[in-house]
């Protein structure tokens, strides 16, 4: 059964490639607009064997990795601080929603004016994108914890720190993980967009640079790698963590 499901997942991919190939051959589309799948494969082999791809990939992956760590490190405590304070939560909820309307990309002009075409600019954009869902979800997670959990612990003599470690953290953990996963998805998109403008390496730089030389094959390799890396990181790294925490701690909201 599982095996059939796996195959079904691949079906749309195969179909897309078939249509792409069919259109290219059937309508005789110029190489300036679209290249065939084998040409993309050839470009992939060239980029991969020369180590070019690895360099761009590692730039993008380390950027998203660093941004995730920083956003987690600052976003979770911030979410706790806000979530445990009813007044702060009410004050900040609207503001956070508002910020979600201004995408990371919309900050690029300002960020470039402030820090130029640098990794710092890109990192700032990605952290901004990532941290908002982390703060937001930590906050909602904390606020969803029944007050009785906290009252009961206080009458057992628990200190504030003890309540954070024994109630707030485990109670909000499923929500924190969900927020981080969401943030990483948004952050990945913001990263690619920022790299396209900042042009200091990364997969966004790869595909935008290839455009200047009309290298459609490289553009398409870049796009496929961007999608593949997202799925691989999300499904093989982030989702298992989420499933694990939900199974272990998620009983709260069964």
């Amino acid at each position: 059964m599982g095996r059939f499901r796996d195959l079904r997942v691949l079906l749309p991919f195969g179909l897309t490639i078939a249509i792409w190939w069919g259109l290219k051959a059937g309508l005789d589309i110029s190489d300036k607009l679209l290249v065939s799948p084998p040409r993309v494969w050839d470009a992939f082999v060239v980029l991969a064997t020369r180590g070019i791809l690895a360099e761009y990939v590692s730039t993008s992956l380390s950027m998203i990795g660093i941004a995730t760590l920083i956003s987690f490190g600052f976003g979770v405590p911030l979410g706790f601080a806000v979530g445990t304070n009813r007044y702060a939560a009410r004050a900040l909820e609207g503001f956070l929603r508002y910020l979600q309307g201004i995408s990371g990309i919309a900050w690029l002009p300002l960020a470039i004016l402030w820090s130029g075409f640098t990794h710092t600019t890109t990192l700032a954009i990605v952290i901004y994108t990532l941290i908002v869902p982390i703060v937001f979800n930590t906050m909602t997670g904390v606020r969803a914890i029944p007050e009785n959990y906290i009252l009961a612990l206080r009458s057992l003599g628990a200190s504030r720190l003890r309540i954070v470690t024994d109630v707030y953290f485990p109670g909000a953990l499923p929500s924190i993980v969900v927020g981080t996963r969401l943030g990483m998805g948004y952050g990945w998109r913001a990263l690619i967009a920022s790299e396209m403008l900042v042009r200091q390496g990364g997969l966004g730089d790869l595909i935008f640079g290839a455009r200047t030389f009309g290298q459609i094959d490289r553009i398409m390799v870049g796009m496929i790698v961007i999608g593949t890396l997202y799925i691989v990181v999300d499904r093989l790294l982030v989702q298992p963590v989420e499933t694990m925490t939900l199974a272990r701690w998620g009983v709260l909201r069964k």
Binding site: P146, N148, Y149, L151, A152, L153, R154, S155, L156, G157, A158, R162, D166, V167, P170, G171, R248, W249, V251, L252, K254
Partner: protein, 258 residues
């Protein structure tokens, strides 16, 4: 005559709401003696939970003061354990670790902690469920865990807010008998809120009846106990004296129907 444990004097409480202050209780004066089980019945919304939360130290009284062992209550403390109606044991801790929580916080050594937890697991009929999580237990068992957690921390005073209200009627009878035994053997000072007149008379050494909101204490009835130790429902229902007291309380409560 034992010493006064909890003294509530001139207590009145108001909550702030968007449409101004809401009076939650009328003036309440109350003394609970050491080792006494005091039960409280009253109509919904009369301020029972408010009074309990003030004794626990969760809310500061708008007026009046509350003393425990002569000291002013300002904050929650280990000397006053609380059992809520529901939703108070932690779903990510096993039965054993929930019960041990208060002892962990008090940094009691592991060996002693285990001994206490083991004893309460036996007393509360939780043997075989030590390593289960709350969502794997019935509502009645979860309440046993909550009761055991509070008892394990060994507070002087135990405050209970309708602890068995969400439990099915059959299980409730058992839990009430178990609690009665626990109270009798440990001689804790207990303040117990309930909607059930029978439960109040069955468990209490003294039953308090409150008026409707803003509630004040309108009557206090002593429940004489013949013999020591546990109480059970069979002898309770067969006892004309108990029936008479229950009826009396029932009349007082009915007069307050909203």
């Amino acid at each position: 005559m034992s010493a006064d444990k909890i003294v509530v004097s001139g207590f009145r409480h108001f909550f702030q709401s968007d449409s101004g202050p809401v009076q939650a209780t009328g003036q309440i004066d109350l003394t609970i003696r050491e080792g006494e089980v005091v039960t409280l019945v009253g109509p919904s919304g009369c301020g029972k939970t408010t009074l309990l939360k003030a004794i626990a130290g969760f809310i500061a009284p708008t007026e009046g003061e509350i003393r425990c062992d002569g000291r002013l209550v300002r904050a929650p403390g280990r000397d006053r354990g609380v059992v809520f109606q529901e939703l108070a044991i932690l779903p990510w801790r096993t039965v054993r670790r929930n019960i041990a929580h208060g002892l962990e916080i008090a940094r009691v050594a592991k060996a002693e902690r285990d001994k206490t937890v083991e004893r309460l697991i036996g007393l509360m009929g939780l043997v075989g469920f030590e390593d289960r999580y709350p969502h794997e237990l019935s509502g009645g068992m979860r309440q046993r865990v909550a009761v055991a957690r509070t008892w394990a921390a060994d507070p002087d005073v135990i405050l209970m807010d309708e602890p068995f209200a969400a439990v099915d009627a059959m299980t409730r009878l058992t839990l009430q008998e178990e609690l009665g035994r626990l109270c009798a053997t440990t001689r804790k000072t207990v303040f117990f809120i309930t909607h059930s007149v029978e439960e109040a008379v069955f468990l209490g050494d003294r039953v308090l009846v409150m008026t409707r909101r803003p509630g004040t204490i309108k009557a206090t009835l002593d429940v004489p106990r013949h013999g020591k130790g546990g109480r059970d429902w069979d002898s309770f229902t067969g006892d004309p004296e108990m029936r008479a007291i229950s009826e009396q309380v029932m009349h007082l409560v009915h007069a307050e129907r909203v």
